[in-house]
């Protein structure tokens, strides 16, 4: 059984026919198996973030259906989403805006554990201090950062905090939306290594969105290429990168800056 089953999902912003109405996601179908590491790539405006937001039930499709663990999660009341909320966690692009600047790191990381919705699902660790120490260690941060505020940390450290918060409720699925594009190239490698190790260690299913194909190739075993809200190509990484079928994928691959030494 697939973990995620996305069938014929579309999302339109604005009313049909009005100016500014955009079909952000257009009839997308895909499935995610447990343990899969799926990369979703495309340019700005290709609908990749809208798609994962719907998969995380942060947004609802205008048509189509999303099933998680064989239950329909699209267009469901928040109180019935307990299973999904505790099993699916997100990491966003810019940790400066995804971490509350007025909370200390310790409070940020344990916040999901205090959610009534998540506690109700019964799978969430109850000893917050122990869990905090555990997840900070797993993202290679010293326990002392628990007393710090996000602004006192570097970009790479902040993104580690965001990852620690995502791991705290022991999720099955980690959705990362451009987790390294706000980071320096040198910090990018550290964070990617960390994501790779954590996914392996905890047996997580990973869904990673990026405009950077090299990043996705490193971490993911399968890839969906999106363009104008539609799936342009999907398949195992080796195939999409090795023998891309679509001209657009080839264009994306050719755009990656590689060393030019003369």
């Amino acid at each position: 059984m697939s973990l995620y089953e996305v069938s014929h999902v579309s999302r339109r912003y604005g009313r049909v026919g009005t100016a500014g109405s955009v079909l952000a996601v257009d009839d997308v179908s895909l499935s995610v198996e447990p343990g899969q590491r799926l990369g979703i790539v495309g340019e700005s405006g290709s609908g990749k973030s809208t798609l994962v937001r719907m998969m995380a039930a942060l947004d609802a499709p205008t048509s189509g259906e999303i099933r998680f663990n064989d239950e329909v999660v699209s267009r469901r009341a928040e109180r019935d989403l307990g299973d999904l909320r505790s099993s699916v966690q997100l990491v966003f692009q810019d940790p400066r805006s995804s971490l509350n600047p007025r909370m200390r790191v310790g409070a940020i990381v344990t916040e999901p554990l205090r959610s009534r919705l998540l506690r109700a699902s019964g799978q969430v660790p109850l000893d917050h201090r122990a869990r905090l120490a555990e997840v900070l260690e797993s993202v290679d941060l010293p326990i002392e950062v628990a007393d710090r505020y996000p602004h006192e940390l570097s970009g790479g450290q902040r993104q580690r905090v965001a990852i620690a918060r995502a791991l705290a409720p022991k999720p099955q699925v980690l959705i990362a939306d451009e987790p390294v594009s706000a980071l320096d190239v040198s910090v990018r490698a550290q964070v990617l290594n960390l994501v790779r190790d954590l996914v392996a260690a905890h047996g997580l299913t990973l869904i990673m969105v990026s405009h950077d194909l090299t990043v996705v190739r490193h971490v993911c075993d399968s890839v969906v290429v999106m363009r104008h809200g539609r799936v342009e190509e999907q398949g195992p990484s080796a195939q999409v990168y090795g023998e891309p079928r679509s001209a657009y994928t080839r264009e994306l691959l050719a755009s990656i800056p590689t060393f030019r030494v003369t």
Binding site: E43, S44, G45, S154, G155, D184, V185, S186, V187, R188, A189, Q190, L192, N193, R196, H211, D212, L213, T214, V215, R217, H218, V219, S237, A238, Y241, E251, L252, A254, S255, I256, P257, T258, F259, R260, V261, T262
Partner: protein, 279 residues
């Protein structure tokens, strides 16, 4: 030939405590040359660029020497510096959305650069602006000129910023992470554009980036900056094949994602260079 830009023992410190962030760096840029400046966030790349342009805030203390075309800029009053900015030297910023004024059509913003330095009628200026917008590869330049920044895509906005930087055919263009905020495909197009336009104008370029792969698209020579010092400089081939500083070797390794087998652990700078613990 004397260098176009000559920076000697440049120091920049901030605030009441005079905390120094650039520690006496020196480098030179020949006419027509393109020089890359790489390093991580916080290494002092942007502060160096702003010091050259004389754009640092008032709490900055600059010492040393910055000469452009033989003329000393450090210590120059703002009113003597202003005529040079946008004329002899110009800058392409990282984030076009903040570099452009959101309340003004982009055509007028490009024209402003022109009118500040040349006495032209507005009609003539507009014609020239449309020309330049077309040169930087914007389709339908008339429409773009009348559009506000928010109505343009990221790539289009950055083309407008490039047009502003090049319209007066400056001798020196400083590009500060000009493609970091852009998608890969757009990045490739903007880099090609910069390459062609710098050649067309014959400008020298100081190109700042944290990504060595991006720098290698445009520059022949590279400076490596670490915590306010230039720790290495050399041709791209030298930096790439036989870097002497471990930090440089680390940067080269991290920029080469394509050289690592998928799924393998990626090299990090720390594999090569352990920074002294600060704070």
């Amino acid at each position: 030939m004397s260098p176009l830009l000559e920076v000697t023992d440049l120091r920049v410190a901030f605030g009441r405590s005079h905390r120094e962030v650039v520690h006496g760096i020196s480098f030179a840029l020949e006419p027509g040359e393109r020089l890359g400046l790489i390093g991580e966030s916080g290494s002092g790349k942007t502060v160096t660029a702003l010091a050259v342009m004389g754009l640092l805030a008032e709490n900055a203390y600059v010492s040393g020497s910055v000469r452009v075309g033989g003329r000393e800029l450090v210590g120059l009053r703002d009113r003597d510096l202003a005529p040079l900015r946008g004329q002899a030297m110009s800058m392409v910023f990282q984030e076009p959305m903040t570099a452009l004024d959101p309340t003004m059509p982009v055509g007028r913003q490009v024209a402003e650069v022109l009118l500040l330095h040349q006495h032209l009628g507005h009609g003539v200026a507009r014609g020239r602006v449309i020309e330049v917008l077309a040169e930087v590869g914007l389709e339908d330049p008339e429409r773009v000129a009348d559009a506000y920044p928010h109505a343009l895509s990221g790539g289009q906005r950055q083309r407008v910023v490039v047009a502003m930087a090049l319209i007066n055919r400056p001798d020196l263009v400083i590009c500060d992470e000009p493609t970091t905020a852009l998608d890969v495909t757009v990045q490739a197009k903007v880099l090609n554009l910069l390459d062609a336009e710098l050649d067309a104008v014959g400008a020298s370029c100081l190109f700042i980036s944290h990504d060595l792969a991006v720098v290698s698209q445009l520059c022949e020579r590279v400076l490596v900056m670490l915590d306010g010092d230039i720790v290495e400089q050399g041709s791209l081939a030298q930096i790439f094949n036989s870097a002497t500083h471990p930090y440089t070797r680390g940067l080269v390794a991290t920029a080469r994602l394509d050289a690592v087998e998928p799924g393998e652990r990626l090299p990090t700078v720390e594999d090569y260079y352990q920074r002294q613990v600060r704070r």
